[in-house]
Amino acid sequence: MTLSRARAFTTARPGEDWPDIARRSLADLDESAALEALKSWNLHLFLRQPRGRILGCDVIFTEPPRSDGG
């Protein structure tokens, strides 16, 4: 049974930081643009101390919210 399309996300691999995630998730963008995009899509991780720290369990979105609300 096929699932409907949901907002894409990933989780960090051990040792990964934001540039690593940007490179593997948004390879088409240059790094600074990719990092800006990731930041705006993952405010939940930038609104806590320390800002932007990635924990192993965190959901990291690799696209903006879906425009169809799905």
Partner: protein, 555 residues
Amino acid sequence: MDLIIRNGRIVDGTGLPAYQGDLGIADGRIVHVGGRIAATAAREIDAAGRVVAPGFIDPHTHFDVQLLWDGEARPALEHGITTVVPGNCSLSLAPLKAEHRPRLVGMFQQIEEMPNAAFDGAFEWTWESFDGYLDALRAKLSVNVAPLAGHSVIRLWVMGDAATERAANAEELAAMQDLLRRCLEAGAIGLSTSFVDVDENLQPVPSRYAHFEELDALAAVLGEYGRMLQVVPEFYATDITLARVDQLAELSLAHQIPTTFSPLFDSAANPDNVSRVMARVEEQMARGARVWPQVQTRPIDISFTFDVASLLFAATPGWYRTMRLPREEKIAALRDPEQLEALIAEAEPGGDTGRFARVKVRAVTRAEDETLVGRSLGEIAAERGSTPARVMVELSLANDLDACFVATDLGHDDPARVGPLLAHPLVHIGASDGGAHIQSFATYGDTGYLFSRFVRDRHDLTLEQAVKKITADTARIWGIPQRGLLQPGFAADVTIFDAEAIARGDEVAAHDMPEGGMRYVRGAQGIDTVIVNGAVAWNAVDGYTTAATGQVVSA
């Protein structure tokens, strides 16, 4: 037979229509349900006009500590709860090395708001292992306990300080798997983890440092036993919750385990949250995954004082500006007649006093105001010939800004939305948080509220459906064998109640924690008798008994 309940309206937990009948119990088990019992028993209960139902099961509690001095999990038992699931949200009291106790106490204090005295002298730490903790519990249980093992403590046991620093290595993963296996062998009903909880320093609990591979490895162990994985998702953000539903579904399918997440709640501020999450749950359940959202019955109340600028005042900008002033300026502004009149005019325009009329006084520091606790500002204002907003300001100033108020029913409060949600076949009624947040609000009486609000008042569920939701469904979802139904051979956990009267009582402050520590509680209404494993554990006439027949129950 040891006990016969006669002439009751039997609601057996299956969801089938109630019927008139007797119920017989021997050796802690149900031996007869249905027709008239000719024999007599040492003890008989006339249940004419009363519902006879399976004991209720509360799947989300934090009674871990309280159970060590209060095997009844008061006041849960008197609400008809015969089985509680502690150890939620990644935190359990075992397995735990002695050296890690202070860290766990901090985490528990953050979640449960349990006073220090509860850990200092109310019980003796006699265990490190999970079975050692269960042995400590068993001595005086009146309620049944189906305990979860907490991911955070498992991580702490294996990794020590590194549990809140990094990913686990292969050796540590294997050690965690082995430790979880031992917990499950000892009787753990499953594993709990959390993606949101923090310790007393507001730092993430250890489980949040775990990568998905670690959770997958632990879920594989759960799969060996078919046991439950409970998680706390980022319930305040819909997209993240949807991602968690997908992760749980992946784990459920890969390891053939049940999973549950809690809480899921509705609010006007985020009106499409529930519909989107439930749509995803339906999709995943249709694939064969078991991902059970837990939904609480009670609305959410919000407490506030004038000492901190609560966002509750944001709808009245003048008030919010005043609340954001430095303390002394705030007091001066509230004492200034001109500024006060402007605030009153904003809150009660044209004499409409509705905004704060239903707000209740929750706590005060001044002895002479104690009689006002629990009363609404509207009532007090009427007595004083004043208005609710004025009374609130006066009380705050008189109590050095420490008077605490509670605005009730501010979230998860639209019965026309919550009722159908509770009735949804894929919704698991739970998330009571019993025994947690004890100094913030009462986490007891949700089952009474289910019957009074959603069965009796609104008819969102029939009596039989509501009973099934909190008995047989819960037992089935969690894999608790031979409980949740009134059926021969099943454990004799029985709640007898008046369907026309069952409800939750008012929230009141109680000082029944160790060394007089305070918590908020609610008493039960309409419950007659609560039977645990065949013995009366509580009844409305005598209160709690000394039966102590509770057991550790496992899958």
